[in-house]
Symmetry: C2
Subunit: 325 residues, 2 copies
Protein backbone atom coordinates (compact mmCIF):
# COMPACT_ATOMS: atom_id res chain seq x y z
CA UNK A 1 0.00 0.00 0.00
CA UNK A 2 1.34 3.43 -0.92
CA UNK A 3 0.13 6.73 0.51
CA UNK A 4 -1.82 8.53 -2.18
CA UNK A 5 -3.54 11.90 -2.05
CA UNK A 6 -6.19 12.91 -4.58
CA UNK A 7 -6.68 16.50 -5.73
CA UNK A 8 -9.91 17.54 -7.48
CA UNK A 9 -10.40 20.98 -9.03
CA UNK A 10 -14.01 21.60 -10.05
CA UNK A 11 -14.71 24.28 -12.62
CA UNK A 12 -17.85 25.06 -14.56
CA UNK A 13 -16.39 23.57 -17.75
CA UNK A 14 -13.82 20.99 -16.66
CA UNK A 15 -12.99 18.90 -13.64
CA UNK A 16 -9.28 18.28 -13.18
CA UNK A 17 -8.17 15.35 -11.07
CA UNK A 18 -4.67 14.34 -10.02
CA UNK A 19 -3.10 11.62 -7.91
CA UNK A 20 -0.10 12.56 -5.78
CA UNK A 21 2.32 10.56 -3.68
CA UNK A 22 3.18 11.33 -0.06
CA UNK A 23 5.74 13.91 -1.20
CA UNK A 24 3.05 15.58 -3.32
CA UNK A 25 4.75 14.51 -6.53
CA UNK A 26 2.26 14.04 -9.34
CA UNK A 27 1.55 10.38 -10.15
CA UNK A 28 -0.96 11.03 -12.93
CA UNK A 29 -3.70 13.45 -13.81
CA UNK A 30 -6.59 13.97 -16.17
CA UNK A 31 -9.32 16.40 -17.06
CA UNK A 32 -12.96 15.58 -17.82
CA UNK A 33 -15.82 17.82 -18.85
CA UNK A 34 -18.02 18.86 -15.95
CA UNK A 35 -21.39 18.52 -17.69
CA UNK A 36 -22.91 20.31 -14.75
CA UNK A 37 -26.37 20.29 -16.31
CA UNK A 38 -26.53 16.53 -15.69
CA UNK A 39 -26.95 17.34 -12.00
CA UNK A 40 -24.85 16.54 -8.96
CA UNK A 41 -25.42 12.75 -8.75
CA UNK A 42 -24.08 12.12 -12.24
CA UNK A 43 -21.26 14.66 -11.98
CA UNK A 44 -20.06 13.21 -8.68
CA UNK A 45 -20.38 9.66 -10.02
CA UNK A 46 -18.14 10.72 -12.87
CA UNK A 47 -15.62 12.31 -10.51
CA UNK A 48 -15.43 9.12 -8.47
CA UNK A 49 -15.14 6.94 -11.58
CA UNK A 50 -12.36 9.14 -12.91
CA UNK A 51 -10.46 8.78 -9.63
CA UNK A 52 -10.86 5.00 -9.87
CA UNK A 53 -9.66 5.01 -13.49
CA UNK A 54 -6.58 7.03 -12.51
CA UNK A 55 -5.86 4.66 -9.62
CA UNK A 56 -6.15 1.71 -11.94
CA UNK A 57 -3.86 3.39 -14.49
CA UNK A 58 -1.25 3.88 -11.73
CA UNK A 59 -1.58 0.35 -10.40
CA UNK A 60 -3.21 1.61 -7.22
CA UNK A 61 -6.56 0.97 -5.53
CA UNK A 62 -9.04 2.84 -3.34
CA UNK A 63 -7.20 1.50 -0.28
CA UNK A 64 -4.14 3.53 -1.24
CA UNK A 65 -5.98 6.83 -0.86
CA UNK A 66 -5.15 8.61 2.41
CA UNK A 67 -7.49 11.50 1.70
CA UNK A 68 -9.09 13.50 -1.08
CA UNK A 69 -8.98 17.29 -1.46
CA UNK A 70 -11.54 19.14 -3.54
CA UNK A 71 -11.88 22.79 -4.48
CA UNK A 72 -14.97 24.46 -5.94
CA UNK A 73 -16.14 28.04 -6.36
CA UNK A 74 -18.38 29.34 -3.57
CA UNK A 75 -20.69 29.97 -1.96
CA UNK A 76 -20.45 26.83 0.09
CA UNK A 77 -20.37 25.71 3.68
CA UNK A 78 -16.91 24.26 3.38
CA UNK A 79 -16.58 23.01 6.92
CA UNK A 80 -19.90 21.19 6.54
CA UNK A 81 -19.01 19.89 3.10
CA UNK A 82 -21.95 21.48 1.29
CA UNK A 83 -22.08 23.46 -1.98
CA UNK A 84 -24.86 25.97 -1.40
CA UNK A 85 -25.15 27.06 -5.01
CA UNK A 86 -22.95 27.71 -7.99
CA UNK A 87 -23.13 30.28 -10.76
CA UNK A 88 -21.59 27.85 -13.26
CA UNK A 89 -23.50 24.80 -12.04
CA UNK A 90 -27.12 25.91 -11.55
CA UNK A 91 -28.31 22.41 -10.63
CA UNK A 92 -25.94 22.28 -7.65
CA UNK A 93 -28.03 23.48 -4.74
CA UNK A 94 -27.23 22.40 -1.18
CA UNK A 95 -25.19 19.48 -2.46
CA UNK A 96 -23.43 17.50 0.33
CA UNK A 97 -20.45 16.94 -1.91
CA UNK A 98 -18.12 15.62 0.80
CA UNK A 99 -20.57 12.97 1.95
CA UNK A 100 -21.37 11.97 -1.65
CA UNK A 101 -17.71 11.64 -2.58
CA UNK A 102 -16.90 9.83 0.64
CA UNK A 103 -19.65 7.26 -0.07
CA UNK A 104 -18.11 6.62 -3.47
CA UNK A 105 -14.43 6.62 -2.55
CA UNK A 106 -14.41 5.55 1.11
CA UNK A 107 -11.76 8.13 1.98
CA UNK A 108 -11.89 11.32 4.05
CA UNK A 109 -12.69 14.42 1.97
CA UNK A 110 -11.22 17.90 2.55
CA UNK A 111 -13.19 20.72 0.94
CA UNK A 112 -12.34 24.37 0.38
CA UNK A 113 -12.98 27.11 -2.13
CA UNK A 114 -11.00 27.17 -5.36
CA UNK A 115 -8.97 30.27 -4.50
CA UNK A 116 -7.97 28.89 -1.10
CA UNK A 117 -7.03 25.58 -2.68
CA UNK A 118 -4.84 27.24 -5.32
CA UNK A 119 -3.35 29.45 -2.60
CA UNK A 120 -2.52 26.39 -0.55
CA UNK A 121 -0.90 24.74 -3.56
CA UNK A 122 1.45 27.68 -4.04
CA UNK A 123 2.06 27.81 -0.30
CA UNK A 124 2.87 24.12 0.03
CA UNK A 125 4.94 23.45 -3.07
CA UNK A 126 4.98 26.58 -5.25
CA UNK A 127 5.97 30.23 -4.98
CA UNK A 128 5.16 30.38 -1.26
CA UNK A 129 7.25 27.42 -0.24
CA UNK A 130 9.35 27.97 2.85
CA UNK A 131 7.37 30.80 4.46
CA UNK A 132 4.63 30.64 7.09
CA UNK A 133 2.74 33.79 6.11
CA UNK A 134 1.60 34.30 2.55
CA UNK A 135 -0.98 36.28 0.63
CA UNK A 136 -2.27 35.06 -2.72
CA UNK A 137 -4.12 36.92 -5.45
CA UNK A 138 -5.71 35.53 -8.61
CA UNK A 139 -5.94 38.11 -11.37
CA UNK A 140 -8.68 37.11 -13.77
CA UNK A 141 -12.20 38.27 -14.51
CA UNK A 142 -12.19 39.38 -10.90
CA UNK A 143 -9.57 39.24 -8.16
CA UNK A 144 -9.69 36.26 -5.83
CA UNK A 145 -7.55 35.77 -2.80
CA UNK A 146 -6.18 33.52 -0.14
CA UNK A 147 -4.35 34.21 3.10
CA UNK A 148 -2.05 31.84 4.97
CA UNK A 149 -1.27 33.03 8.47
CA UNK A 150 1.17 31.13 10.67
CA UNK A 151 0.88 28.09 8.41
CA UNK A 152 -2.91 27.90 8.22
CA UNK A 153 -5.47 29.22 5.74
CA UNK A 154 -7.57 32.08 7.11
CA UNK A 155 -11.24 31.18 6.70
CA UNK A 156 -13.07 33.82 8.70
CA UNK A 157 -16.27 33.61 10.70
CA UNK A 158 -18.46 32.59 7.76
CA UNK A 159 -15.77 30.99 5.61
CA UNK A 160 -15.68 34.00 3.31
CA UNK A 161 -12.38 35.55 4.36
CA UNK A 162 -9.75 36.66 1.84
CA UNK A 163 -12.13 38.29 -0.64
CA UNK A 164 -9.12 40.45 -1.32
CA UNK A 165 -10.44 41.89 -4.56
CA UNK A 166 -13.07 43.73 -2.55
CA UNK A 167 -10.72 45.65 -0.32
CA UNK A 168 -11.72 49.26 -0.97
CA UNK A 169 -8.77 51.34 -2.10
CA UNK A 170 -10.62 54.28 -3.62
CA UNK A 171 -13.74 55.06 -1.54
CA UNK A 172 -16.57 56.19 -3.83
CA UNK A 173 -14.47 55.16 -6.80
CA UNK A 174 -15.26 52.87 -9.75
CA UNK A 175 -18.29 50.65 -9.37
CA UNK A 176 -17.36 47.02 -8.74
CA UNK A 177 -19.38 43.98 -9.82
CA UNK A 178 -19.92 43.23 -6.12
CA UNK A 179 -21.91 46.41 -5.60
CA UNK A 180 -19.24 48.29 -3.66
CA UNK A 181 -17.35 51.22 -5.09
CA UNK A 182 -13.59 51.56 -5.39
CA UNK A 183 -12.65 47.90 -4.86
CA UNK A 184 -9.19 46.71 -5.88
CA UNK A 185 -10.96 44.45 -8.38
CA UNK A 186 -12.53 47.43 -10.15
CA UNK A 187 -9.00 48.62 -11.06
CA UNK A 188 -6.62 45.70 -10.90
CA UNK A 189 -8.35 42.66 -12.41
CA UNK A 190 -7.81 41.59 -16.01
CA UNK A 191 -11.36 42.66 -16.87
CA UNK A 192 -10.98 46.05 -15.19
CA UNK A 193 -7.68 46.62 -16.98
CA UNK A 194 -9.33 45.99 -20.33
CA UNK A 195 -12.42 47.98 -19.42
CA UNK A 196 -10.46 51.02 -18.27
CA UNK A 197 -8.55 51.01 -21.56
CA UNK A 198 -11.76 50.75 -23.54
CA UNK A 199 -13.39 53.58 -21.59
CA UNK A 200 -10.38 55.82 -22.13
CA UNK A 201 -10.46 55.25 -25.88
CA UNK A 202 -14.20 55.81 -26.02
CA UNK A 203 -13.57 59.06 -24.15
CA UNK A 204 -11.16 60.08 -26.89
CA UNK A 205 -7.70 59.01 -25.68
CA UNK A 206 -5.13 58.48 -28.43
CA UNK A 207 -3.85 54.90 -28.53
CA UNK A 208 -2.81 52.13 -30.86
CA UNK A 209 -5.44 50.10 -28.98
CA UNK A 210 -8.16 52.04 -30.79
CA UNK A 211 -7.67 49.92 -33.89
CA UNK A 212 -8.14 46.76 -31.80
CA UNK A 213 -11.34 48.12 -30.33
CA UNK A 214 -12.63 49.14 -33.75
CA UNK A 215 -11.81 45.75 -35.27
CA UNK A 216 -12.82 43.39 -32.44
CA UNK A 217 -15.39 45.53 -30.69
CA UNK A 218 -13.57 44.92 -27.42
CA UNK A 219 -10.16 45.01 -25.75
CA UNK A 220 -8.61 42.37 -23.49
CA UNK A 221 -5.92 42.86 -20.86
CA UNK A 222 -3.65 40.85 -23.17
CA UNK A 223 -4.11 43.55 -25.82
CA UNK A 224 -3.17 46.20 -23.27
CA UNK A 225 0.08 44.43 -22.38
CA UNK A 226 0.94 43.80 -26.03
CA UNK A 227 0.50 47.47 -26.83
CA UNK A 228 2.45 48.39 -23.68
CA UNK A 229 5.36 46.34 -25.03
CA UNK A 230 5.04 48.20 -28.33
CA UNK A 231 5.32 51.53 -26.50
CA UNK A 232 1.73 52.76 -26.48
CA UNK A 233 1.26 55.61 -24.00
CA UNK A 234 -2.31 54.79 -22.99
CA UNK A 235 -1.39 51.16 -22.41
CA UNK A 236 1.29 52.40 -20.01
CA UNK A 237 -1.17 54.59 -18.12
CA UNK A 238 -3.67 51.76 -17.84
CA UNK A 239 -0.99 49.30 -16.69
CA UNK A 240 0.16 51.81 -14.09
CA UNK A 241 -3.40 52.11 -12.78
CA UNK A 242 -3.60 48.35 -12.50
CA UNK A 243 -0.19 48.03 -10.85
CA UNK A 244 -0.86 50.84 -8.39
CA UNK A 245 -4.17 49.30 -7.31
CA UNK A 246 -2.47 45.96 -6.73
CA UNK A 247 0.45 47.62 -4.91
CA UNK A 248 -1.84 49.49 -2.50
CA UNK A 249 -3.68 46.24 -1.83
CA UNK A 250 -0.34 44.54 -1.10
CA UNK A 251 0.55 47.30 1.36
CA UNK A 252 -2.80 46.90 3.08
CA UNK A 253 -2.23 43.17 3.44
CA UNK A 254 1.24 43.78 4.80
CA UNK A 255 -0.27 45.91 7.57
CA UNK A 256 -2.92 43.29 8.25
CA UNK A 257 -1.58 39.73 8.28
CA UNK A 258 2.04 40.67 7.42
CA UNK A 259 2.92 38.05 4.80
CA UNK A 260 6.53 37.21 4.01
CA UNK A 261 5.55 36.57 0.42
CA UNK A 262 2.78 37.92 -1.80
CA UNK A 263 1.99 35.71 -4.79
CA UNK A 264 0.04 36.78 -7.88
CA UNK A 265 -1.53 34.17 -10.11
CA UNK A 266 -4.14 33.97 -12.85
CA UNK A 267 -4.23 34.77 -16.53
CA UNK A 268 -2.91 38.30 -16.21
CA UNK A 269 0.51 37.25 -14.89
CA UNK A 270 1.30 36.35 -18.50
CA UNK A 271 2.10 40.09 -18.72
CA UNK A 272 5.34 39.19 -16.94
CA UNK A 273 7.84 41.70 -15.61
CA UNK A 274 6.13 44.59 -17.38
CA UNK A 275 3.40 44.20 -14.76
CA UNK A 276 5.34 42.74 -11.81
CA UNK A 277 8.01 45.43 -11.83
CA UNK A 278 5.42 48.20 -11.91
CA UNK A 279 3.61 46.63 -8.94
CA UNK A 280 6.93 46.63 -7.07
CA UNK A 281 7.63 50.24 -8.11
CA UNK A 282 4.30 51.46 -6.73
CA UNK A 283 4.69 49.28 -3.65
CA UNK A 284 8.08 50.82 -2.88
CA UNK A 285 6.77 54.31 -3.56
CA UNK A 286 3.79 54.01 -1.21
CA UNK A 287 4.99 51.72 1.59
CA UNK A 288 6.20 52.79 5.00
CA UNK A 289 9.98 52.64 4.68
CA UNK A 290 10.44 50.39 7.71
CA UNK A 291 8.44 47.64 6.07
CA UNK A 292 9.93 47.88 2.59
CA UNK A 293 12.47 45.10 2.88
CA UNK A 294 10.25 42.60 4.64
CA UNK A 295 8.18 41.13 1.84
CA UNK A 296 8.74 39.46 -1.52
CA UNK A 297 6.23 40.04 -4.30
CA UNK A 298 6.29 37.39 -6.99
CA UNK A 299 4.26 35.36 -9.48
CA UNK A 300 2.80 31.90 -8.94
CA UNK A 301 4.76 28.96 -10.29
CA UNK A 302 2.28 26.07 -10.48
CA UNK A 303 0.25 27.25 -13.44
CA UNK A 304 -2.89 25.33 -14.32
CA UNK A 305 -2.16 22.49 -11.93
CA UNK A 306 -2.33 24.68 -8.83
CA UNK A 307 -5.92 23.55 -8.19
CA UNK A 308 -5.23 19.81 -8.12
CA UNK A 309 -1.88 20.17 -6.34
CA UNK A 310 -3.41 22.53 -3.82
CA UNK A 311 -6.35 20.23 -3.16
CA UNK A 312 -4.05 17.26 -2.63
CA UNK A 313 -1.68 19.32 -0.47
CA UNK A 314 -4.58 20.56 1.65
CA UNK A 315 -5.81 16.99 2.08
CA UNK A 316 -2.33 15.99 3.23
CA UNK A 317 -2.00 18.97 5.58
CA UNK A 318 -5.40 18.32 7.13
CA UNK A 319 -4.50 14.68 7.67
CA UNK A 320 -1.19 15.64 9.28
CA UNK A 321 -2.92 18.09 11.54
CA UNK A 322 -5.21 15.28 12.63
CA UNK A 323 -8.37 17.08 11.67
CA UNK A 324 -9.74 14.66 9.12
CA UNK A 325 -13.33 13.68 9.74
Amino acid sequence: MSETFVGIDVGGTNIKIGLFDSKLELICKTSVTTEADMGPEIVIDKMAQTVKDLLSEAGLSLKDIVSVGIGTPGPAKYSEGIIIRSTNMPKFKNVPICQMLNERLGAPIVFDNDANVACWGEYAVGAGKGVKDMVFFTLGTGIGGGVVSNGELVHGCDENAAELGHIIIYPDGRKCNCGQKGCAEAYGSADATAKRAQEAIEAGAQSSLKKVLDEKGMITSKDVYEHLAAGDKLAKEITDGTAKALAITCINMLHTTEPKRIVFSGGMIAAGDALLNRIKDFFNEHIWTLKKEGVEICFATLGEDSGIIGAAALAKHTEERGKLQ
Copy 2:
Protein backbone atom coordinates in the same frame (compact mmCIF):
# COMPACT_ATOMS: atom_id res chain seq x y z
CA MET B 1 -2.15 26.20 45.97
CA SER B 2 -4.46 28.21 43.76
CA GLU B 3 -3.94 28.83 40.07
CA THR B 4 -2.98 32.47 39.62
CA PHE B 5 -2.22 34.38 36.44
CA VAL B 6 -0.36 37.69 36.47
CA GLY B 7 -1.02 40.46 33.95
CA ILE B 8 1.50 43.28 33.48
CA ASP B 9 0.80 46.31 31.28
CA VAL B 10 3.92 48.41 30.72
CA GLY B 11 3.45 52.01 29.67
CA GLY B 12 5.94 54.87 29.49
CA THR B 13 4.44 56.48 32.61
CA ASN B 14 2.88 53.67 34.62
CA ILE B 15 3.11 49.93 34.98
CA LYS B 16 -0.18 48.27 35.84
CA ILE B 17 -0.14 44.84 37.41
CA GLY B 18 -3.03 42.55 38.28
CA LEU B 19 -3.47 39.08 39.74
CA PHE B 20 -6.23 36.92 38.30
CA ASP B 21 -7.69 33.57 39.29
CA SER B 22 -8.13 30.65 36.93
CA LYS B 23 -11.45 32.12 35.74
CA LEU B 24 -9.67 35.40 34.98
CA GLU B 25 -11.50 37.17 37.79
CA LEU B 26 -9.43 39.99 39.25
CA ILE B 27 -7.93 39.16 42.65
CA CYS B 28 -6.14 42.48 43.15
CA LYS B 29 -4.30 45.08 41.11
CA THR B 30 -2.07 48.10 41.45
CA SER B 31 -0.26 50.71 39.41
CA VAL B 32 3.29 51.94 39.95
CA THR B 33 5.27 54.62 38.14
CA THR B 34 7.52 53.24 35.44
CA GLU B 35 10.55 55.45 36.09
CA ALA B 36 11.97 54.18 32.83
CA ASP B 37 15.04 56.41 33.14
CA MET B 38 16.30 54.21 35.98
CA GLY B 39 17.05 51.56 33.35
CA PRO B 40 15.73 48.06 32.77
CA GLU B 41 17.31 46.28 35.78
CA ILE B 42 15.67 48.58 38.31
CA VAL B 43 12.34 48.78 36.45
CA ILE B 44 12.11 45.01 36.18
CA ASP B 45 13.16 44.59 39.84
CA LYS B 46 10.30 46.88 40.74
CA MET B 47 7.86 44.94 38.56
CA ALA B 48 8.84 41.70 40.25
CA GLN B 49 8.65 43.23 43.74
CA THR B 50 5.22 44.64 42.98
CA VAL B 51 4.01 41.20 41.90
CA LYS B 52 5.36 39.75 45.16
CA ASP B 53 3.65 42.49 47.18
CA LEU B 54 0.33 41.78 45.45
CA LEU B 55 0.72 38.05 46.07
CA SER B 56 1.42 38.73 49.73
CA GLU B 57 -1.59 41.05 49.95
CA ALA B 58 -3.77 38.25 48.53
CA GLY B 59 -2.32 35.58 50.81
CA LEU B 60 -0.59 33.90 47.85
CA SER B 61 3.01 33.06 47.01
CA LEU B 62 5.21 32.73 43.93
CA LYS B 63 4.30 29.05 43.78
CA ASP B 64 0.69 29.99 43.01
CA ILE B 65 1.64 31.68 39.74
CA VAL B 66 0.89 29.52 36.70
CA SER B 67 2.24 32.09 34.26
CA VAL B 68 2.78 35.79 33.73
CA GLY B 69 1.62 37.82 30.74
CA ILE B 70 3.24 41.12 29.86
CA GLY B 71 2.44 43.70 27.20
CA THR B 72 4.71 46.52 26.06
CA PRO B 73 4.80 48.84 23.06
CA GLY B 74 7.01 47.70 20.18
CA PRO B 75 9.29 47.23 18.44
CA ALA B 76 10.21 43.97 20.10
CA LYS B 77 11.00 40.40 19.24
CA TYR B 78 8.06 39.06 21.15
CA SER B 79 8.64 35.40 20.47
CA GLU B 80 12.22 35.78 21.70
CA GLY B 81 11.20 37.86 24.69
CA ILE B 82 13.26 40.91 23.80
CA ILE B 83 12.35 44.61 23.78
CA ILE B 84 14.42 46.03 20.91
CA ARG B 85 13.83 49.67 21.79
CA SER B 86 11.09 51.91 23.11
CA THR B 87 10.16 55.49 22.32
CA ASN B 88 8.95 56.07 25.87
CA MET B 89 11.76 54.14 27.56
CA PRO B 90 14.99 55.20 25.82
CA LYS B 91 17.20 53.11 28.13
CA PHE B 92 15.44 49.93 27.08
CA LYS B 93 17.55 48.55 24.25
CA ASN B 94 17.65 44.85 23.46
CA VAL B 95 16.28 44.01 26.89
CA PRO B 96 15.57 40.29 27.43
CA ILE B 97 12.53 41.12 29.50
CA CYS B 98 11.10 37.60 29.60
CA GLN B 99 14.31 36.06 30.88
CA MET B 100 14.78 38.84 33.44
CA LEU B 101 11.24 38.50 34.75
CA ASN B 102 11.46 34.72 34.77
CA GLU B 103 14.63 34.87 36.87
CA ARG B 104 12.82 37.03 39.39
CA LEU B 105 9.47 35.27 39.49
CA GLY B 106 10.30 31.69 38.55
CA ALA B 107 7.22 31.43 36.31
CA PRO B 108 6.83 31.19 32.52
CA ILE B 109 6.44 34.60 30.84
CA VAL B 110 4.20 35.32 27.84
CA PHE B 111 5.08 38.51 25.97
CA ASP B 112 3.22 40.45 23.31
CA ASN B 113 2.70 44.01 22.17
CA ASP B 114 0.31 46.24 24.08
CA ALA B 115 -2.32 46.40 21.33
CA ASN B 116 -2.36 42.61 20.91
CA VAL B 117 -2.63 42.16 24.65
CA ALA B 118 -5.55 44.59 24.94
CA CYS B 119 -7.14 42.92 21.91
CA TRP B 120 -6.81 39.54 23.57
CA GLY B 121 -8.37 40.89 26.77
CA GLU B 122 -11.46 42.04 24.87
CA TYR B 123 -11.49 38.76 22.95
CA ALA B 124 -11.22 36.56 26.03
CA VAL B 125 -13.50 38.32 28.49
CA GLY B 126 -14.70 41.62 26.97
CA ALA B 127 -16.58 42.81 23.90
CA GLY B 128 -15.25 39.96 21.75
CA LYS B 129 -16.32 37.16 24.04
CA GLY B 130 -17.98 34.26 22.32
CA VAL B 131 -16.61 34.73 18.80
CA LYS B 132 -13.54 33.15 17.17
CA ASP B 133 -12.75 35.94 14.72
CA MET B 134 -12.35 39.49 15.94
CA VAL B 135 -10.71 42.71 14.84
CA PHE B 136 -9.68 45.32 17.40
CA PHE B 137 -8.83 48.98 16.95
CA THR B 138 -7.43 51.44 19.50
CA LEU B 139 -8.32 55.03 18.69
CA GLY B 140 -5.81 57.34 20.35
CA THR B 141 -2.87 59.41 19.19
CA GLY B 142 -2.62 56.86 16.42
CA ILE B 143 -4.66 53.79 15.54
CA GLY B 144 -3.41 50.48 16.86
CA GLY B 145 -4.86 47.13 16.03
CA GLY B 146 -5.16 43.47 16.79
CA VAL B 147 -6.58 40.56 14.82
CA VAL B 148 -7.84 37.29 16.23
CA SER B 149 -8.37 34.66 13.55
CA ASN B 150 -9.84 31.29 14.41
CA GLY B 151 -9.11 31.84 18.08
CA GLU B 152 -5.48 32.93 17.76
CA LEU B 153 -3.77 36.32 17.52
CA VAL B 154 -2.32 37.05 14.07
CA HIS B 155 1.34 37.94 14.50
CA GLY B 156 2.69 37.97 10.95
CA CYS B 157 6.10 37.03 9.61
CA ASP B 158 8.00 39.63 11.63
CA GLU B 159 5.54 39.98 14.51
CA ASN B 160 4.31 43.30 13.16
CA ALA B 161 0.92 42.27 11.80
CA ALA B 162 -2.26 44.21 12.56
CA GLU B 163 -0.82 47.68 12.10
CA LEU B 164 -4.36 48.47 11.08
CA GLY B 165 -3.99 52.22 11.32
CA HIS B 166 -1.67 52.07 8.33
CA ILE B 167 -4.08 50.46 5.93
CA ILE B 168 -4.19 52.94 3.05
CA ILE B 169 -7.71 54.10 2.33
CA TYR B 170 -6.96 57.24 0.32
CA PRO B 171 -3.88 56.66 -1.88
CA ASP B 172 -1.84 59.87 -2.12
CA GLY B 173 -4.03 61.35 0.63
CA ARG B 174 -3.11 62.98 3.94
CA LYS B 175 0.42 62.42 5.15
CA CYS B 176 0.59 59.96 8.04
CA ASN B 177 3.16 60.00 10.87
CA CYS B 178 4.45 56.68 9.53
CA GLY B 179 5.57 58.24 6.26
CA GLN B 180 2.83 56.76 4.09
CA LYS B 181 0.03 58.82 2.64
CA GLY B 182 -3.69 58.25 3.09
CA CYS B 183 -3.53 55.85 6.04
CA ALA B 184 -6.65 55.25 8.11
CA GLU B 185 -4.76 56.78 11.03
CA ALA B 186 -4.33 60.06 9.17
CA TYR B 187 -8.13 60.46 9.16
CA GLY B 188 -9.60 58.33 11.93
CA SER B 189 -7.37 58.66 15.00
CA ALA B 190 -8.17 61.07 17.84
CA ASP B 191 -5.20 63.23 16.82
CA ALA B 192 -6.21 63.27 13.15
CA THR B 193 -9.78 64.18 14.09
CA ALA B 194 -8.55 67.17 16.09
CA LYS B 195 -6.01 68.14 13.46
CA ARG B 196 -8.50 68.05 10.59
CA ALA B 197 -10.83 70.33 12.58
CA GLN B 198 -8.01 72.74 13.32
CA GLU B 199 -6.89 72.82 9.69
CA ALA B 200 -10.44 73.51 8.53
CA ILE B 201 -10.80 76.44 10.91
CA GLU B 202 -7.42 77.82 9.93
CA ALA B 203 -8.58 77.57 6.33
CA GLY B 204 -11.59 79.71 7.22
CA ALA B 205 -14.39 77.27 8.05
CA GLN B 206 -17.12 78.65 10.30
CA SER B 207 -17.41 76.75 13.57
CA SER B 208 -18.02 77.16 17.27
CA LEU B 209 -14.69 75.35 17.62
CA LYS B 210 -12.90 78.51 16.48
CA LYS B 211 -13.29 80.00 19.94
CA VAL B 212 -11.68 76.90 21.48
CA LEU B 213 -8.77 77.15 19.08
CA ASP B 214 -8.34 80.86 19.78
CA GLU B 215 -8.43 80.34 23.54
CA LYS B 216 -6.42 77.13 23.92
CA GLY B 217 -4.26 77.34 20.83
CA MET B 218 -5.34 73.80 19.96
CA ILE B 219 -8.35 71.52 19.54
CA THR B 220 -8.78 67.97 20.88
CA SER B 221 -11.06 65.26 19.53
CA LYS B 222 -13.04 65.67 22.76
CA ASP B 223 -13.72 69.28 21.76
CA VAL B 224 -14.92 68.10 18.35
CA TYR B 225 -17.43 65.67 19.89
CA GLU B 226 -18.64 68.24 22.43
CA HIS B 227 -19.32 70.74 19.66
CA LEU B 228 -20.92 67.99 17.58
CA ALA B 229 -23.35 67.40 20.45
CA ALA B 230 -24.05 71.13 20.50
CA GLY B 231 -24.94 71.06 16.80
CA ASP B 232 -21.83 72.56 15.19
CA LYS B 233 -21.76 71.90 11.45
CA LEU B 234 -17.99 71.62 11.06
CA ALA B 235 -17.80 69.21 14.00
CA LYS B 236 -20.31 67.04 12.12
CA GLU B 237 -18.27 67.11 8.92
CA ILE B 238 -15.10 66.23 10.80
CA THR B 239 -16.82 63.41 12.70
CA ASP B 240 -18.18 62.08 9.42
CA GLY B 241 -14.67 62.05 7.96
CA THR B 242 -13.42 60.09 10.96
CA ALA B 243 -16.34 57.67 10.91
CA LYS B 244 -16.07 57.08 7.16
CA ALA B 245 -12.34 56.31 7.41
CA LEU B 246 -12.99 53.83 10.20
CA ALA B 247 -15.93 52.29 8.32
CA ILE B 248 -13.88 51.73 5.14
CA THR B 249 -11.17 50.14 7.28
CA CYS B 250 -13.78 47.86 8.85
CA ILE B 251 -14.98 46.82 5.39
CA ASN B 252 -11.42 46.06 4.34
CA MET B 253 -10.90 43.88 7.40
CA LEU B 254 -14.17 42.10 6.71
CA HIS B 255 -12.87 41.14 3.25
CA THR B 256 -9.55 40.04 4.72
CA THR B 257 -9.89 38.02 7.93
CA GLU B 258 -13.70 38.22 8.11
CA PRO B 259 -14.25 38.98 11.80
CA LYS B 260 -17.59 38.30 13.48
CA ARG B 261 -17.04 41.29 15.72
CA ILE B 262 -15.10 44.54 15.29
CA VAL B 263 -14.22 46.24 18.56
CA PHE B 264 -13.13 49.87 18.95
CA SER B 265 -11.29 50.97 22.06
CA GLY B 266 -9.16 53.86 23.23
CA GLY B 267 -9.84 57.38 24.41
CA MET B 268 -12.00 58.39 21.46
CA ILE B 269 -14.77 55.88 22.19
CA ALA B 270 -15.83 58.31 24.93
CA ALA B 271 -17.62 60.01 22.01
CA GLY B 272 -20.20 57.24 22.34
CA ASP B 273 -23.05 56.62 19.94
CA ALA B 274 -22.44 59.91 18.12
CA LEU B 275 -19.34 58.24 16.70
CA LEU B 276 -20.35 54.57 16.72
CA ASN B 277 -23.61 55.11 14.86
CA ARG B 278 -21.89 57.14 12.16
CA ILE B 279 -19.29 54.39 11.69
CA LYS B 280 -22.18 51.94 11.26
CA ASP B 281 -23.95 54.30 8.83
CA PHE B 282 -20.90 54.59 6.57
CA PHE B 283 -20.22 50.88 6.90
CA ASN B 284 -23.72 50.03 5.73
CA GLU B 285 -23.52 52.57 2.92
CA HIS B 286 -20.24 51.22 1.52
CA ILE B 287 -20.35 47.49 2.21
CA TRP B 288 -21.28 44.78 -0.24
CA THR B 289 -24.88 43.98 0.64
CA LEU B 290 -24.24 40.25 1.06
CA LYS B 291 -21.84 40.89 3.93
CA LYS B 292 -23.88 43.52 5.73
CA GLU B 293 -25.51 41.31 8.31
CA GLY B 294 -22.46 39.27 9.21
CA VAL B 295 -20.52 41.50 11.53
CA GLU B 296 -21.15 43.43 14.74
CA ILE B 297 -19.33 46.72 15.30
CA CYS B 298 -19.09 47.74 18.94
CA PHE B 299 -17.02 49.44 21.62
CA ALA B 300 -14.61 47.75 24.03
CA THR B 301 -15.92 47.02 27.51
CA LEU B 302 -12.83 46.49 29.68
CA GLY B 303 -11.67 50.09 29.88
CA GLU B 304 -8.31 50.79 31.46
CA ASP B 305 -7.87 47.27 32.77
CA SER B 306 -7.81 45.70 29.28
CA GLY B 307 -3.99 45.59 29.37
CA ILE B 308 -3.65 43.61 32.60
CA ILE B 309 -6.65 41.39 31.90
CA GLY B 310 -5.43 40.75 28.37
CA ALA B 311 -1.92 39.91 29.52
CA ALA B 312 -3.23 37.47 32.13
CA ALA B 313 -5.71 35.97 29.64
CA LEU B 314 -2.96 35.52 27.07
CA ALA B 315 -0.77 33.83 29.68
CA LYS B 316 -3.64 31.49 30.47
CA HIS B 317 -4.39 30.79 26.81
CA THR B 318 -0.75 30.06 26.03
CA GLU B 319 -0.57 27.68 28.98
CA GLU B 320 -3.73 25.88 27.85
CA ARG B 321 -2.38 25.56 24.35
CA GLY B 322 0.72 23.92 25.81
CA LYS B 323 3.08 26.43 24.29
CA LEU B 324 4.64 27.83 27.46
CA GLN B 325 8.39 27.81 27.42
